[in-house]
C-alpha cells in the first residue's frame, strides 16, 4: 500500500497514472490496441509532439509563443512553393527551415531586445505570418508537383512511418538538451529567476533569441511533414495549434511560471491529447459531446497531477 503511494507520488507519478489509464483504455475500447491504430495515433500527434519539444523550452524560460500554428502553415507553404518553383525538394526544405527560423528569430529579437511582451509579440507575428501564408497562396492550398515529396511522410523505416521516427528523434534530442546540457539548465534558470540568471553570467537575451529561433525551425520541420502528409501546402493549416501544444506541455507538468519542465512529462501530455481524441472517435462520441469530454479530460489530468504533487508537498513555491 505504502509503496504504491510512493510510486504514485514520486517523480514518475504522471507516467504511472498515464500507464494505468492506457491499460484501462486498451481493455475497454475496441480496436484501440491494434498496431494500425497505434501508428495512426502516433501519426496524429506528430505535429503537436514536434512543436512541443521547443515550446517546452519556451515556457520553461517564462516565455510564450502563440505563433507556432501560423509558422507551421507558412513554412509548409514555403516548402511546397519553393520545391515547385525550383524543382528541387532539398532546396524547398532548406527554404522552409530558413523561413521558420527567421520567424523565430524575429520573435526572439523583438521579445528579448525590444522587451515587448511575448504574448503580444507572438500574437502579432501569428497574424502577420498567417497573412503572409494567405497572400503567398492567394488563400488556396498549393499542390505539390513532385510526388516524391509525399515520400517524406509515406516512407517507413521498420514498418513505422518516418514522421514518427522524426518525432521520437526530436524527443530524444530535446530531452537530452534539457537535462544534460548547459543550454537546458540555463533555460530553466532563466524561467526560475531571469535577473538572477543574468547576474550569474547567463546571457539571457541570447538564450531567449536562440529558443525562439529553434522553435521556428522546429515548426518548419513540423510544417514540412504536415505538407507532405496532406500532399499540399495549406495556408489555413494548424490553426489553433498553439493552444493544443501549450496544453500538452502544461499537462506534462511544464510550469507557465517558468523554471519547471521535463521531456517525459511533455511526451505524456502529447499522448494524452492524442489518445483522448482517438478514443472519442473510436467510441463514436458525438461532436458536441466531444467538446465537453475534451474539457473534462484536460481538467482531470491536471487535477490528478496536482493532487499528486501537492501530496508530495512541493512546498510554497
Amino acid at each position: 500500500m505504502n509503496s504504491l503511494k510512493k510510486i504514485l507520488l514520486g517523480e514518475q507519478g504522471l507516467l504511472v497514472i498515464f500507464a494505468g489509464a492506457f491499460v484501462v483504455v486498451s481493455i475497454f475500447v475496441p480496436n484501440f490496441l491494434t498496431e494500425r491504430n497505434m501508428l495512426g495515433l502516433l501519426q496524429s500527434v506528430v505535429t503537436i509532439g514536434i512543436v512541443s519539444c521547443t515550446m517546452m523550452f519556451c515556457l520553461a524560460s517564462r516565455d510564450f509563443d502563440l505563433s507556432v500554428g501560423s509558422t507551421v502553415a507558412f513554412s509548409g507553404m514555403i516548402a511546397v512553393m519553393v520545391s515547385n518553383a525550383s524543382g528541387s525538394i532539398p532546396f524547398g526544405l532548406l527554404a522552409a527551415l530558413l523561413c521558420g527560423g527567421a520567424v523565430g528569430l524575429v520573435n526572439g529579437v523583438v521579445i528579448a531586445k525590444l522587451r515587448i511582451n511575448a504574448l503580444i509579440t507572438t500574437l502579432a507575428t501569428m497574424q502577420i505570418v498567417r497573412g503572409f501564408a494567405l497572400i503567398a497562396s492567394d488563400g488556396r492550398a498549393v499542390g505539390i508537383n513532385d510526388p516524391s515529396f509525399y515520400q517524406l511522410a509515406l516512407s517507413r523505416i521498420f514498418t513505422i512511418p518516418t514522421p514518427i521516427w522524426i518525432m521520437i528523434l526530436l524527443f530524444i534530442v530535446f530531452g537530452f538538451i534539457l537535462n544534460r546540457t548547459v543550454f537546458g539548465k540555463n533555460t530553466l534558470a532563466i524561467g526560475g529567476n531571469p535577473e538572477a540568471s543574468r547576474l550569474a553570467g547567463v546571457n539571457v537575451d541570447r538564450m531567449r533569441i536562440w529558443i525562439f529561433t529553434l522553435q521556428g525551425m522546429v515548426c518548419a520541420v513540423a510544417g514540412i511533414l504536415l505538407a507532405s502528409r496532406i500532399t499540399s501546402g495549406q495556408p489555413n493549416a494548424a490553426t489553433g495549434l498553439e493552444l493544443s501544444v501549450i496544453s500538452a506541455c502544461v499537462l506534462g507538468g511544464v510550469s507557465l511560471a517558468g523554471g519547471r519542465a521535463a521531456m517525459t512529462g511533455v511526451i505524456v501530455g502529447v499522448l494524452i491529447m492524442g489518445i483522448a481524441e482517438n478514443v472519442m472517435n473510436l467510441l463514436n462520441i458525438q461532436a458536441f459531446y466531444q467538446y465537453v469530454v475534451r474539457g473534462f479530460i484536460l481538467l482531470i489530468a491536471v487535477l490528478l497531477d496536482n493532487l499528486r504533487s501537492s501530496a508530495a508537498g512541493r512546498g510554497r513555491a
Binding site: T34, A141, S232
Partner: protein
C-alpha cells in the same frame, strides 16, 4: 459482415453538417449499418480521421473536406487503409487544379449557387424597380475560404452581367465567419456610403448576409430598401422569416442536406454491400426560398 461507414465533415458545428449527419443516420437505421461521424477541421485531422476509421474496420467513408486541394493525400490515405471513398458538397481536385474524376461525388457547385443568389437579387431589383446606379452591393467576404470566394464571385458575375455597376460593389471582409463579424464589417461599408439609399447583400452563407441586414437596421435603413439573399436555409434563415414583419433578409438559397446526407450514405452502403458503384458525379441544385414560400420549398427538398 457488418458494414461500417465513416462520415467526415469539415465543420461539425455548422447546422448544415448536423443535418447531413442526421440524414445519413436515417439511412444507417434503415439499412442497418454503423455510421461513424467525425469532425475534421484541417488536413491533419482528416488524415487522422481516415486512419482512425481504418483502425476500427470501416469499409468506406464519405467526406466533406476542409480544402479541396487535399485531394491526392486523401485518396492515397483511403487506399492505404483500404477504404472506399466518396465526397460530398465539395469536389476534390488534384495538384493541377482539375477535379479528381475517379472519386464519386455528390455536391453543389459553389459558383452555381452563387449565381443563383445573384439572379435572385437581380430579379428582385427589377421587380422593385430600383435604378441600379443608385444601389449599393455589400459583398460580405471571407476570402481565406476558397468556397466562399467562389460563391460570392458567382453572385457578382450575374450582377455584372445584368448591368450592375462594378464600382457599386463594396467589400466587407469578415474577420470570422459569424454574424457579429459580418455585422461590424458591413456597418463600416454602410457608413462609408451614407448617401446610398438602396442596398443588396450577399455572402458565404446566411449568417454573413444576416450580419449585413442587421447592419442596415442599425443605421436606420428601412427593410424595404434592402435585399439580402443568403445561402443555406437552416434555422438562422427560418428565424428571420418567422419574424412578425419582413426584414431586409429577402431570401435564401436552400441546398438540401437530405440528399447529400441520405443519398451519399445509401450509395456508399450499396457500394460496400452489393458492389454497386455510385455515379461519378451527381450535382444538386439550390432552390431559392422566400419569406412566403420557404416551408413548401423545404418540404419539396425533403427537409422539415
Amino acid at each position: 459482415a457488418d458494414v461500417k461507414i465513416g462520415f467526415v465533415v469539415k465543420q461539425p458545428e455548422e447546422p448544415w453538417f448536423q443535418d447531413e449527419w442526421k440524414f445519413a443516420d436515417q439511412a444507417a437505421k434503415e439499412k442497418g449499418f454503423t455510421l461513424v461521424k467525425i469532425g475534421a477541421q484541417d488536413g491533419e485531422k482528416v488524415q487522422s480521421a481516415i486512419d482512425n476509421l481504418g483502425a476500427q474496420g470501416a469499409q468506406g467513408f464519405i467526406i466533406c473536406v476542409p480544402d479541396v486541394k487535399l485531394g491526392p493525400g486523401i485518396v492515397a490515405k483511403a487506399a492505404a487503409n483500404d477504404l472506399k471513398l466518396m465526397t460530398v458538397d465539395d469536389r476534390l481536385v488534384g495538384a493541377d487544379g482539375n477535379p479528381l474524376e475517379d472519386v464519386p461525388h455528390m455536391g453543389i457547385s459553389a459558383t452555381k449557387i452563387g449565381e443563383t443568389v445573384g439572379q435572385a437579387i437581380i430579379d428582385e431589383i427589377k421587380k422593385r424597380d430600383w435604378d441600379m446606379k443608385e444601389v449599393g452591393a455589400i459583398r460580405v467576404s471571407y476570402d481565406q475560404l476558397p468556397t466562399a470566394v467562389d460563391r460570392v464571385e458567382g453572385a457578382i458575375s450575374v450582377l455584372k452581367a445584368a448591368g450592375f455597376p462594378a464600382e457599386n460593389i463594396h467589400d466587407a471582409p469578415q474577420a470570422k465567419t459569424d454574424t457579429e463579424a459580418a455585422l461590424n464589417a458591413a456597418t463600416t461599408v454602410l457608413n462609408k456610403h451614407a448617401n446610398v439609399k438602396y442596398w443588396v447583400a450577399f455572402g458565404l452563407n446566411d449568417e454573413a448576409v444576416l450580419g449585413a441586414v442587421r447592419a442596415s437596421e442599425s443605421v436606420g435603413i428601412p427593410a424595404e430598401n434592402v435585399i439580402g439573399v443568403g445561402i443555406g436555409g437552416a434555422e438562422s434563415a427560418i428565424n428571420e422569416f418567422k419574424k412578425p414583419s419582413a426584414t431586409g433578409f429577402f431570401g435564401t438559397v436552400i441546398i438540401s442536406p437530405k440528399r447529400h446526407g441520405y443519398e451519399t450514405a445509401l450509395n456508399m452502403y450499396e457500394w460496400i454491400a452489393d458492389g454497386k458503384e455510385p455515379p461519378k458525379l451527381t450535382l444538386t441544385a439550390g432552390s431559392l426560398a422566400l419569406r412566403g414560400d420557404y416551408e413548401t420549398v423545404r418540404k419539396d427538398l425533403g427537409i422539415e
